[in-house]
Assembly symmetry: D2
Homo-oligomer: 166 residues x 4
């Protein structure tokens, strides 16, 4: 039986401190549960934090990179998938994940949340703003839920995984 | 000098009547101005309407298709670009367009608006809901504007094109 | 009824003089027949030559670009499709073309010929070397044919189009 | 330090018995060396055999799938990367691999070998036919080498990895 894959998404360079802390805590908890952490793979923001957290606990990390430039890969990524297809790779991130957890919302993150909803994937938003919450609730028709901490997000993710994977 | 390319995006099967009417009117006006209409290319909703409008006025239409299934292509598309890459093709739609006009907001549309903002493209939302308006204003930092009719959207698009193309 | 789309493929910077001359002649003849010329869209080698030939006769040209860098687009492309997905865009070139004509064989060209065969598209090789001819005949099982001039290639393409398009 | 990733490519449904045996032996040897086996991920031919061999020795397997249809994934893939982009995913396979080993040559395989050469990756062909050998030697200018067994291919791959990875 394969391990569940949890996508952790969020801003790179413009990530807020709270988003980075949540992402690192998510990485730790995902690893502790024996799950795989998937991210956009760059050495920046939420991506870097989730991978750093996962490796601190000996987890497995997959990064789906937009570029073939090796210097942009997080050193905490075990398996860098080199797409060289820019932000078109965002669709691969969501299709590959069994559940997606978003920490913060830049434009790239919003595209991934929307592509996830399009693909009927469950998405969990951590510390979402009021306007994001209202907007996505209208858009997602039950595919989206909201968490006020990394711990809360993991408990929601666990339910999705228990209901999805064989 | 090449013709400006205007991306008209919006829901397929779930498009509202007002969005379809706006899209068809956009297609007519884009053609009248000698511009190219670009869409997701399927024979459904906003895509079909924009292409039908453009062809009614002798315009040129490009459709960037997610699939290689020929029966899903709008008959009003002159140049069907067959990507066979599902919704990853949404990024091609926005990168190829000089300006993007959205009629309605399904999940696919939201992904395109977000990818456009990520790529620093200007986006015009027609008849946006209050929650969409608030959400995208916070996300887009001046890259997004709002129109209450197809005519209004075209006047906004004209300013973008005048400022962008050589 | 939409116009047939003919993909003209071949090396960029490393194209031979004979390949460039054949590509330009192909562009002229494709335009004279009222067909659309599709290429990889860059301002180099076979791509540039095919587009230049087509525009000399008032044809329509579509370029499927690997990059979003505007300075790499051939000025003879009417409709630049910006994929920003590197050589993964080669699959779009072949899926979008009704028939493919190759002038010369660099690595990118070989990938396109092979992807075309995989997609059951007909490919015509102009001035192929003996080793390319032998290799592709074994690989393609009737999907590939060989031409000794642009004129010959167009006559072969015409048969494919007559048998394929509605 | 991340583990080397070795791409094992070759036909699916049309793979020959010798190619399948070589692929399975490659999977076993890649796992024994502590390397990661990457493939196209489907439950067929060379892909399935390489993954089965790797898992028989407790290795790690990554499959880059062309489709989102879960029933097409090899059960021996630990980490299925779902691209849903058809054969455009072939470019991801080669960019992600530190070295590529081909067992047999269908059209998809040829596209991957050519994309690898385009990206300046080293490729090793196992049990290549005379015409494939001649063709690729002319195309690849030193990037391609030939092996007459899985054992030989692994010894060639080891040299590439020793010279490439930090």
């Amino acid at each position: 039986m394969r391990k569940p894959i949890v996508g952790v998404i969020g801003p790179g360079e413009k990530a807020r401190k709270a988003d980075i802390e949540a992402a690192e805590e998510l990485g730790r908890r995902i690893a502790d549960l024996g799950w795989v952490t998937l991210s956009g793979g760059r050495n920046s923001g939420v991506m870097e934090a989730a991978n750093r957290g996962a490796k601190a606990r000996g987890g497995t990390t997959v990064g789906v990179l937009p570029t073939s430039k090796r210097e942009m890969i997080s050193p905490y990524v075990d398996i860098p998938i080199i797409t060289d297809m820019g932000n078109a790779r965002n669709n691969i991130n969501v299709l590959t994940s069994d559940v997606i957890i978003a920490c913060g919302v830049g434009p790239g993150t919003v595209s991934e949340i929307a592509l996830a909803i399009k693909a009927r994937k469950k998405v969990i938003l951590v510390l979402a703003s009021a306007s994001a919450r209202k907007f996505f609730e209208e858009l997602a028709h039950g595919l989206i839920s909201f968490a006020d901490s990394a711990e809360h997000a993991i408990s929601l993710a666990r339910k999705v995984i228990d209901n999805t994977l064989p």
